[in-house]
Symmetry: C2
Subunit: 293 residues, 2 copies
């Protein structure tokens, strides 16, 4: 049976795994992210002798995912200085001579859910992770969204809640989604970690107010067939009914679709137990093998 390599490249750790065509992960390890040279060598050592047919890479960004670009496969202007302008794809290819496909970590998670999870069979899907930051992966017409760059929709601008006097956590934008919604913003605004605030109604109503605004804009712009919410903050399950209610309230009946009439199955939690990213990387490996562009 064919084996595929999967790499979920993060700022603090590199998850390396072997997967089968049906998404089954047969083995997995985690390598700390240090210097590029040291880290790549350890990743290569892991995949050596594993007999993989191809490697899928779902990476932190920003990353150049444009195949026609001279810097295709490079990590771009990241705050992790050692990785800035690092040619990740070539470094991997030099040591692991198999077909490779690279995309963002969140596009990878979106692909995992579309291929093996709750969005199976849908061609237009958004995956949003809300944790230490906010990341958004998007698929349109069955393909992951790239353009000038890739989605950076965690930095979409939102209207401030009238009762929210918090200045926002993002150093770039006083009112972007990440700066108002991510875990560090919750902690700074309310003075405690999100998981210690589960019982505080006002925390989650404000959180839902912001998330729903972003969803309304994503719905109006992308018209996805499903919206999947993952990440640490979304482990607060009480958020889902609040987000669904506020989204409907803000849309106010303007868009009428079967999906919105069944909103419990439209705005849903991630379904792959935090394996959506690595399973998406398996699918990227399958695409690499088949030469998909």
């Amino acid at each position: 049976m064919k084996k595929y390599g999967a790499l979920e490249a993060g700022g603090t750790k590199m998850v390396c795994a072997i997967g089968l065509a049906d998404g089954t992960i047969t083995e997995q390890t985690s390598i700390p992210t240090t210097t590029p040279e040291e880290t790549i060598e350890k990743i290569a050592a892991y995949f050596r002798d594993k007999d993989i047919s191809a490697l899928g890479v779902a990476t932190f960004g920003p990353v150049d995912v444009k195949k026609d670009s001279p810097t295709y496969g490079y990590i771009l202007n990241t705050p992790k200085l050692a990785w800035q302008n690092f040619d990740l794809l070539s470094a991997l290819k030099e040591k692991i001579p198999v077909p490779m496909e690279i995309d963002t970590d969140v596009n990878g998670s979106c692909l995992g859910e579309m291929t093996f999870g709750c969005a199976k069979g849908l061609d237009s899907v958004i995956y949003i992770t809300i944790g230490t930051g906010v990341g958004v992966g998007i698929a349109i017409n069955g393909k992951l969204l790239h353009g000038m760059l890739h989605p950076e929709a965690g930095h979409s601008l939102l209207s401030k809640h009238p009762d929210d006097h918090y200045k926002g956590k993002c150093p770039f934008h006083p009112n972007c989604m990440e700066g108002l919604c991510a875990g560090p913003a919750i902690e700074e605004r309310w003075g405690d970690k999100a998981y210690n605030l589960s019982g505080k109604k006002e925390v989650w109503e404000m959180e839902a107010y912001y998330i729903a605004q972003a969803l309304v804009n994503f719905i109006c712009t992308l018209s996805p067939r499903k919206i999947i919410l993952g990440g640490g903050v979304m482990h607060q399950e009480q958020l889902f009914p609040l987000i669904r209610k506020k989204t409907k309230e803000l849309l106010n009946g303007y868009i009428e679709t079967a999906e919105l009439n069944d909103i419990e199955n439209y705005i849903v939690p991630a379904s792959l137990h935090d394996d959506q990213g690595i399973m998406g990387a398996v699918q990227l490996a399958k695409w690499a093998e088949n030469g998909a562009d």
Copy 2:
């Protein structure tokens, strides 16, 4: 030489034209939009004996553009009651037996600019018309964006300007782009038609504030390679530098790309002299002939 039929279906008029493969419009007429029966008969009479190879339809919406849907090609819940749930595509096919492709008017304009205009060769483009309403056409990976429905991004939500006490024109959303930016909103807010307000700096600074916010969200979400602004309001050319400046200010350097560094060529006016829609319909006809999906 092959001839293609092009229909730009609007709520007040139907523009019918004959075009060549290179986008040249060889003849064109306009039919008032009355009842579906009467209007379709006149459209069919125009195209009869014109020897067209295929017909492209760029229509007002909402319209069902999902080919796998039982109501594919229907006008959906429009305020024009006679056209509500009208099976436009079948009505046309019954009288004009050629291959047809249907999309929204603004997706059509986007396609026109991508095929024959200022976005030629780009695979990821947004076309925004700001006139009596706000419409947004989107192409991703060279294909027009469909999903659950089609873009309705004119109803994206924006933050109110601190000095704007106008309640918004949209009956659904107190702070959506259309309700704050379209011609009727400008007129109601400032007490005069947009074209009589050209010299009033505060009008266009507020307008640019809203448009730029929407562009920032489209850029973060869709990462387009070009943004094209058309429609009556955008004939106020003084808006372009204001919008570009405000967009950069709001993005605040977070996204770094060659396109944003050359913003004069990134956020641009429509280039096809208001023929972008009908020329897009010609391209839809070419797609229909080739069986593109």
